[in-house]
């Protein structure tokens, strides 16, 4: 499964949810869906904006974890 490490990156960059939502032009509610891992998909455009805002790579935000070897 894909884990969203957005909160980790946000903490590293010391940026608040509202601030980030404003920068990447999405609603705080949608950012919350993304942060909590409830999102079913992410648009390339959103990922691009996130990477630009957090000055990171997509791999810093998204992580693949093999369900079988989760433990």
């Amino acid at each position: 499964m894909i884990i969203v490490n957005l909160d980790v990156m946000m903490a590293k960059r010391k940026i608040s949810s509202n601030e980030l939502a404003e920068i990447i032009d999405i609603t705080p509610a949608n950012l919350s869906i993304l942060k909590t891992g409830k999102a079913k998909a992410i648009r390339f455009s959103t990922l691009e904006k996130l990477c630009a805002a957090l000055k990171c790579q997509p791999g810093d935000i998204l992580e693949f974890v093999d369900d079988d070897n989760k433990e």
Binding site: A39, A41, I42
Partner: protein, 151 residues
Amino acid sequence: MWNKDKSIVLSKILIVIMVLGIIASCIFAPQIVREYDNRVILEAGLPSVFTPLLVTLYCCVPPALTALISLYMLLINIQQNKPFIKVNIVYLRIISYCCFAGAVIFVYFAILRPFAWVIVAAALFFGIILRVVKNCFQQAVAIREENDFTI
């Protein structure tokens, strides 16, 4: 000017009329069935179907009312611009099962009077159509959810 809201209101009125019709039928069913039995069945020299027909009709009332109430609830959700929600799938499933229940109940009367197989077939037909509509709604809900959770 005819629009979506007026169409839904008309559907609601038709459902209310049908519910009232069913309630009236419950009250006057013995008289109506007796009249039918005397004028059609007995005059044709056939054995009376008063009790089987009455039992069949009364047994059909609960599924019919359940289906109409579910249909009304479905319309309320559609009116509130919430057509593709999970609860609507449940309503459609209930309506479909009610059609199947009606078909099963009428099998009893159809054994006595073969013309009632037409009613059984019609109820099964509607039940199947509603199942397909339910499957479509299920797919639509999944697509809507995916769309809502695509950021």
